[in-house]
């Protein structure tokens, strides 16, 4: 039943954009004008979209590694370490993504000097750092939740087999967590990909910036809806398969 609903979602999306564009067209112009403009600008906007994907992949990779460490810190035996990790996690989880992004854009240096050579740090790298922080905090919570969802009998069983705490964690607990962590992790990736347009606010030339540039060059108000609508559809087509796959994995795990 759910799968049938998904098919309709695409129809809905396309319908929404088409209807809105048709409504926006003045009587003398036709829909081909908007379509032609869209095709003309598609390569440039597509280039921007590649940057969106690149930012999201880097932020996800680094964020996952850091988040894994932070999450393991949260379940650590040492009281100070778990407290510190929990505080860091809550801090970066509760701060708005956009504010963290601003923070990194303004506070991180725009170039660094390493043994005599000056390295310029482009805007998009700093934006990626800004997006990595909330990803890290969210992964940390996913790890903690997964570790705590493993029945305590597993810990006791491993202890009776004379495994040390770190052996239990790496050989018994984490392999089981992997399956539980995958759906929320993929969900997080979709959220991250949907958050990459935030980087346009701080001047990174990704898809949304490119769309605005294209619209600025065209100077035709009837193109506003088709262009932004097409961008919405592009993101939808990228995020929606992830959502579908996540739902399928969750359904499999639930049985």
């Amino acid at each position: 039943m759910r799968r049938a609903a998904e098919g309709k979602a695409v129809c809905f999306a396309v319908l929404l954009v088409l209807a809105a564009s048709a409504w926006a067209q003045p009587a003398h112009s036709d829909i081909d004008g908007a379509l032609a403009a869209l095709v003309r600008w598609a390569p440039l906007i597509g280039e921007g979209f590649v940057l969106n994907v690149l930012i999201s992949v880097i932020a996800m990779t680094v964020g996952t590694v850091l988040g894994l460490l932070l999450g393991l810190g949260q379940v650590a035996r040492m009281r100070w370490l778990s407290r510190l990790s929990a505080a860091l996690t809550q801090f970066f989880r509760n701060a708005p993504w956009l504010v963290l992004l601003f923070y990194c854009i303004y506070v991180l240096p725009f170039r660094i000097t390493l043994v005599g050579t000056t390295l310029a740090i482009p805007n998009w790298v700093r934006a990626t750092v800004g997006l990595t922080l909330p990803v890290m905090a969210n992964v940390s919570e996913i790890v903690r939740g997964a570790v705590q969802s493993v029945p305590s009998g597993q810990w006791e069983g491993s202890a009776s087999l004379a495994l040390s705490r770190s052996q239990t964690l790496w050989l018994v607990i984490l392999p089981q967590c992997l399956k539980r962590m995958l759906p929320p992790w993929m969900n997080l990736y979709a959220i991250l990909l949907m958050s990459t347009p935030l980087a346009s606010i701080v001047g990174v030339e990704e898809a949304l910036t490119m769309t605005r540039n294209a619209l600025g060059a065209e100077r035709r108000s009837e193109l506003l809806i088709p262009f932004y609508g097409a961008l919405l559809v592009a993101f939808f087509l990228a995020c929606w398969p992830i959502a579908l796959l996540t739902r399928r994995l969750e359904a499999r795990a639930a049985v």
């Binding site: 609903a5 509760n94 701060a95 708005p96 601003f102 923070y103 346009s200 949304l208 009837e222 959502a243």
Partner: protein
């Protein structure tokens, strides 16, 4: 008050930590109005998104098929597109075709301003999540409960309103809590369409007073305070409405 003001002036002079929003009345009033705008955006979008969530969850159960498709489509589309692009689509896209009215000076101004569009975009975004949350809550109530209520002589509507809905609401409260926190954080996106909320006014202040790190940190702390307050209040409410016999403790 004067003492605090002079204290922060002193802090600026001695340590170089320039928190103009504490001692400068103009900056203080700007920041305060930004704070109020953020709260207003969050509250308005919250109420609208809750209404959307309830309506959507009801529509998903409707016998009219097109209404169900429309709701499913709305939920899938708004959950899987970037909220910022949604906001641009609404404000710049749909805003370009909405009628304009002349303002006091005779210039045409859009009938629906940027604040209203921000609320519309935020409500539609959060509402899509709320529909799913309410649906899962309603599905979590065992069918037998509603049947038992009907067996006691309640009408279908009564059993829904008095038995199913209160139970469903308690089940979905944690997820709702999560979504509402997200909504408060998403209000920052209104910055992009020029709504003078907290991030926007902070940007103005740090551009004037050149105190970027101080204002940034302040902003971050205020947001975390706001979110923590909401989380705390919702947790209190959650435990006050807790059903005996469910969950731990």
């Amino acid at each position: 008050m004067d003492l605090i003001e002079s204290l922060f002036r002193e802090l600026n002079a001695s340590a170089g930590i320039n928190l103009t929003i504490v001692y400068d009345p103009f900056d203080r009033s700007r920041f305060w109005s930004g704070f109020l705008m953020t709260v207003y955006l969050a509250a308005a979008a919250l109420l609208a998104s809750l209404a959307l969530g309830v309506l959507g969850a009801a529509a998903q159960k409707s016998p009219i098929a097109p209404l169900r498709w429309l709701t499913d489509g709305y939920v899938a589309f708004f959950r899987n597109t970037p909220p910022l692009v949604q906001m641009y689509f609404f404000f710049f896209g749909l805003g370009s075709i909405t009628p304009t009215v002349p303002d006091d000076l005779g210039f045409p101004t859009p009938l629906i301003g940027n604040v209203a569009w921000a609320i519309v975009a935020l409500a539609l975004f959060a509402g899509a999540f709320n529909v799913e949350i309410f649906r899962s809550g309603l599905e979590a109530v065992p069918k037998g409960t509603a049947e038992a209520a009907t067996a006691l002589g309640l009408t279908r509507l009564q059993s829904f309103r008095l038995v199913v809905l209160p139970l469903a609401f308690r089940t979905c409260l944690p997820a709702l809590n999560n979504n509402l926190v997200n909504l408060v954080k998403t209000t920052t996106l209104a910055y992009a369409i020029g709504v003078p909320e907290m991030l926007y006014v902070s940007n103005q202040i740090w551009s004037d007073a050149l105190n970027v790190p101080e204002m940034m940190t302040m902003l971050l702390l205020v947001y975390i305070g706001l979110v923590s307050l909401l989380v705390w209040a919702m947790h209190r409410w959650e435990s006050a409405m807790r059903l005996p016999g469910f969950g731990e403790r």
